[in-house]
Symmetry: C2
Subunit: 168 residues, 2 copies
DNA sequence: TTTAAGTTTCAATATATTTTGAAAATTCAG
DNA sequence: CTGAATTTTCAAAATATATTGAAACTTAAA
């Protein structure tokens, strides 16, 4: 397969993959494009490469910066802004985990904690069932939270296998 | 908080939470409703509780069955079909992991493997960068695959903490 | 069989999300 | 300052996704 063909394929598949995970297709594609670009790109480069509008690039780039996956780069002598993506995939993964945890898992646990306190008769089967389900989801959430914190703090070995080999 | 209020809140929040993860809101709500229902429900029950159409319930229930999260229940003497959800959250989580792995992770790894073989000059910086990125994502994917397999096979202790405590 | 209850399908419709593009705002060289 | 280059915003349009509801289909009791 030719490089140009493979790049296209990677970018478009990464976009499709992203949508399955609640990530906007264009954002995923911009990220993919920056991942495989050696040099930082301008917004115009991305408009051109992905055939999308200026506004679209601008909004999604800002989102990606908000996710900590893309950085602005100043190139001296250049008026335009350039953008680059972190290339270390382990860092990318931990950054995504960190953000999703903060944005989604933490609020979910907070909500479940509130729902655990039911005023009605604790003897009621319905009440018991509800608090059991909510409580166990919360417990799972808390454990996931701890585990992910460990992963974030740990070095790459956590995932590349040396630790987990112990359980095989 | 009253049970009825908490139930409503749980169902609607679960739906909102699901959409962030690429799961259709109604599907997540139906699942939530079944999780907190002691007795199996009919499609009519769900239409009523969630104020949604018959077709919508039917399609999403079928999806949930496809995900292995909901089962049809036959109640003798009754003509209608009833539905119930697995209440053990650990089982629910492993089932979701198993399915997403099969539907998304495995195809992704397959794709990345294809993209690793670039015909162009291996000395080219662009080619090196591309194969490096694709290769490292694939490596991460393979490791995630292994880890998730371990989780799926392991008993609940994997997540409830006794194993992971070793790393603190 | 017949037929009524129950289930499934899917084209049409509604809703939600993404994208565009041009105007407004900002930045900076001269 | 001034104004051209660049970035940002956001209402309108386009696209994608979810929902409806009625017709078609299936099932099983009479």
């Amino acid at each position: 397969m030719k490089l140009s063909e493979a790049k296209q394929q990677f970018i478009s598949s990464w976009g499709a993959f992203g949508t399955q995970w609640g990530i906007n297709r264009t954002m995923a594609q911009i990220h993919a494009l920056l991942l495989v670009s050696i040099n930082p790109l301008t917004q115009d480069d991305m408009m051109e490469e992905l055939s999308i509008s200026r506004g679209n690039v601008n909004m999604n780039i800002r989102d990606l910066i908000g996710w900590g996956l893309v950085d602005r780069v100043i190139i001296s002598g250049e008026r335009k802004e350039y953008f680059t993506a972190e290339k270390d995939i382990w860092k990318v993964a931990t950054q995504i985990i960190k953000e999703r945890k903060k944005r989604e898992l933490d609020p979910m646990i907070k909500l479940l904690s509130q729902l655990e306190n039911i005023d009605d008769d604790k003897k009621d089967k319905e009440v018991q069932q509800f608090t059991q389900v909510v409580g166990s989801i919360k417990k799972l959430g808390l454990q996931a939270d701890k585990t992910l914190d460990l992963m974030i703090k740990a070095d790459e070995n956590w995932f590349t296998g040396s630790i987990l080999k112990m359980f095989k």
